[in-house]
């Protein structure tokens, strides 16, 4: 691990000002930024120990849990999730469990109890890919780390890699779960930054790799996520997160589905669908949602929706199984969600 200066901030503004002391040139790979915020540390400390991240200035923002960023609030305007709330706090919160089950489940099914006690919600959505070639500095070729160096995963061991949203520069999978719940439920993100505060749709936060896989999010240097706001919605209560993985617990998704349904008897009024484990970013499946609107959930309808969701899939080598696995995961999630008693 490279040495760094450790600083602590007690307010979002103080954090932004401190972060700014080490300026990162534009177009630097996100992972190579000179200045980093530290919350739970479960991604940052890990990647620093691997030398994938080598920040010179680390600003500890854990004291922000004494601000609104440490709170969960539920009311008529929806759900407020402070960015410094721990995953385990949100997963166990009665209002979240009852009113937004897909959020609670996406958190509970992620990582381990220890990691969930450490990791913040803000850090969780920014966790970095588990692509082996990205994490292993002995591979020179990684467009995410070193723009233009190539991608070792393209023709390498890519069983866990993405089949949706990839480019010829990068096929690294977005590894998280919580983000699928947020994008399905039309959440927004409160961001503090050097030029003030702003709110962006969660669906705009992560960037597909395209030509610039080293720029991973819409956040600018110094931007700090302070909260997520999930609006109230008739489909929020009938929602679930289904995660399929190589082992039953403590594993990243091979395929997952965050599903929320507003039902009128057996007919779907509205559906919200996001897919995980199969894409380079949290993946909203809007075509599949449209295919379900006004329909009853028979086998043909379900399969047609799944076909729509994966119509653009481009498997590469070892990850071809994810096309069928992803479709089946979505169909099962839809069936189980429709059968929920609420």
């Amino acid at each position: 691990m490279h040495p760094f200066v450790y600083a602590r901030a007690t307010s979002a503004q103080g954090a932004v000002e401190t972060h700014h002391l080490a300026e990162t040139p534009r177009d630097t790979a996100s992972v190579r930024a000179r200045s980093q915020y530290l919350a739970g540390g479960t991604t940052l400390v890990d990647l620093m120990r691997l030398d994938v991240m080598q920040p010179e200035l680390v600003t500890d923002i854990n004291a922000l849990d004494e601000t609104p960023s440490g709170e969960i609030d539920f009311g008529s305007r929806g759900l407020w999730l402070g960015a410094l709330v721990k995953m385990s706090q949100a997963a166990d919160h009665a209002d979240v469990v009852e009113n937004y089950p897909v959020i609670a489940q996406s958190l509970y099914l992620a990582a381990s109890p220890q990691l969930r006690n450490m990791a913040s919600l803000g850090g969780n959505v920014l966790q970095r890919t588990r692509c082996t070639y990205f994490r292993d500095m002995s591979y020179a070729a990684c467009n995410k780390r070193s723009p233009g160096s190539g991608c070792a995963a393209m023709d390498g061991v890519n069983r866990n890699h993405a089949i949706l949203g990839a480019s010829d520069r990068c096929i690294a999978t977005y590894p998280g779960d919580f983000a699928q719940a947020l994008i399905a439920l039309d959440a927004v993100v409160d961001v503090a930054g050097p030029s003030g505060s702003r709110t962006i749709p969660f669906s705009n936060l992560h960037r597909r790799p395209g030509e610039t896989p080293h720029i991973e999010t819409a956040l600018q240097p110094g931007d700090l996520i302070t909260a997520f706001v999930v609006p109230p919605a008739p489909w929020a209560k009938r929602s679930k997160y289904l995660k399929v993985r190589d082992r039953e617990s403590y594993e990243f998704a091979l395929a997952s589905a965050a599903v929320a349904l507003d039902m009128d008897g057996d007919t779907v009024r509205q559906a919200r669908i996001a897919l995980g484990g199969i894409a380079t970013v949290p993946w909203r499946a809007r075509e599949a949602e449209a295919a379900l609107r006004g329909q009853t959930l028979g086998d043909d309808t379900l399969n047609a929706a799944a076909e729509k969701a994966f119509a653009g899939a481009s498997p590469r080598g070892e990850n071809a199984f994810k096309v069928d696995l992803g479709k089946r995961t979505l169909v099962r999630a839809l069936r189980e969600t429709a059968a929920m008693t609420i």
């Binding site: 040495p3 530290l38 540390g41 854990n62 220890q114 990691l115 006690n117």
Partner: protein, 205 residues
């Protein structure tokens, strides 16, 4: 990468550093260091040891540590409590599990600096003042819940938290909530038995 010979950390200057609004003992000690050096080249140095105090098993420990030191290494190499084990050092095995303010965390992914102001409990802190084993420790012995023993301190710390969190209501729940602790000797069935056995005994104490 860095110009370490001059103690520099790239391009952020002392003047900039002093204008920020941070407040903490650690930050202040850094600032004091910067203030004490008036040379034009003065920079806040990443090589400057951090002086900090950790509350471990009820005792305050004053330490001067490299900023990179994990809580795990601070406990093992600086406090001298080697009960907490280093397995993977990447948050994947659970061998380094300790309690922070009663909640289980991974000491390998926690910087020692982050642990300031929190109460740390390690495996050495579980037994009573008279040396009587914690019910979970005794249950692991009674149920032969280990073979080589390397993962055991982490398993026991995690098991204690599993019970206090209220996540030991069934075998399935225990397995799920103990999944962050790997045992390559595969003593899992006996670990589940030990947790079930210790649970009512923990309530008695």
């Amino acid at each position: 990468m860095h110009d370490t010979s001059s103690g520099g950390a790239g391009g952020f200057s002392r003047r900039n550093f002093l204008t920020t609004t941070m407040a903490s003992t650690m930050t202040l000690s850094l600032l004091d260091k910067a203030r004490g050096d008036d040379s034009a080249a003065a920079r806040v140095s990443p090589r400057q040891p951090l002086t900090l105090s950790l509350n471990v098993n009820g005792q305050e420990r004053r330490l001067a540590l490299d900023v990179r030191t994990s809580l795990l290494d601070a406990l093992r190499e600086h406090v001298g409590l080697t009960g907490t084990k280093k397995g993977c050092d990447h948050g994947q095995c659970g061998a380094c599990t300790v309690l922070m303010d009663g909640k289980r965390v991974l000491s390998c992914l926690t910087l020692a600096a982050m642990a300031q102001g929190h109460e740390i409990t390690t495996i050495e802190g579980l037994a009573g003042p008279d040396g009587a084993l914690h019910p979970m420790q005794q249950a692991f012995i009674d149920h032969d819940a280990f073979q080589c023993g390397y993962c055991t301190p982490g398993q026991i710390m995690s098991a204690v938290a599993c019970v206090t969190e209220g996540h030991a209501e069934s075998d399935a729940e225990i397995r799920e909530y103990m999944s962050g602790n790997l045992c390559r000797c595969a003593c899992y069935p006996n670990i589940v038995d030990a947790v079930k056995d210790a649970k009512p005994k923990m309530k008695e104490t």
